[in-house]
Amino acid sequence: MRTFPIIRVVTKILIPYILLFAFYVQFHGDYGPGGGFQAGVIFASALILYGLVFGLESVKRVAPPVVIEKLMALGVLVYGMTGVLTLSLGGNFLDYAVLEHHFYPHLFPSGQHLGIFLVELGVGITVTSVMTMIFYTFAGRKKIV
């Protein structure tokens, strides 16, 4: 296999910023454009870029398929459990108003904000892992040169 030193070095420099941008889109989604779907795809694209340049085996060491396939379900579970949590607190399903609390309100996010945050986190986890898993299954069929 040929090595492309420039591409390798540039990829190594870029990946942290891609991940950082993904986290920014994820956690800043309530204030700016973005949210779970976009952040998940950007995060996955960093993993896929790593896989393209350094090979499938090395990206599988970073994000093992066993973990990724659990995360796929975990994201939806986080979303669903947020709904169950609001149910058990006496509200409707996914009614974040019941998450309102009086525990340092200026320090911790308010009810609606907290609910949206949890839900977006679930979406982000699912989208990241599904995109990565799709790449794994496609690339795993045959060695990409």
Binding site: G29, P33, F37, V41, Y79, G111
Partner: protein, 187 residues
Amino acid sequence: MSSLIDFPILALLAITAVTIARMRDLWAAIMFTGIYSFLSASWMLILDAPDVAFTEAAVGAGIATVLMLSTLALTGKKDRQLAHAPIMPFFLVLITGCVLVYGTLDMPHFGDPNAPIQLHPNPSFVEKSQHDMHGLPNVVTAVLASYRGYDTLGETTVVLTAGIAVMIILRKEKDDGDQEASTETIS
């Protein structure tokens, strides 16, 4: 002023689409679909839809291109040459296109304040969210995650289902390189 950017981008979109349709080299066609996605991402950014532009740039130009390239690595590079000129499909597409263009004549003008989209889900939606969300400024997120939380839950489940479907269809039963537990957990 914005038409200085609008028209070139739309023209480039049209040119790229025609180029892709006429192309027989699949590798180049995939590169052109990437360009097409990137152009439409810029177009959506001009239309003040940064969320959609994000998604288009990341999914359309990034991941979809990679996935199509890896599909190409599994199949082949060339589309087979057709024996005869496809006249019938061409006319079908032409007629459909004309009908669609005719349909746009009934649509409201771009940026029309009286367009149904500006009036129907109630302008108060925008005003209400400031109060309901305790000052969360992004109405899109508020609508997506709070007002229509069920909807987004369904979408997330669709993504999960799609992932599972791809895994079931495409995953190799036996990994020749690594004997990890990944295959036995699914079967």
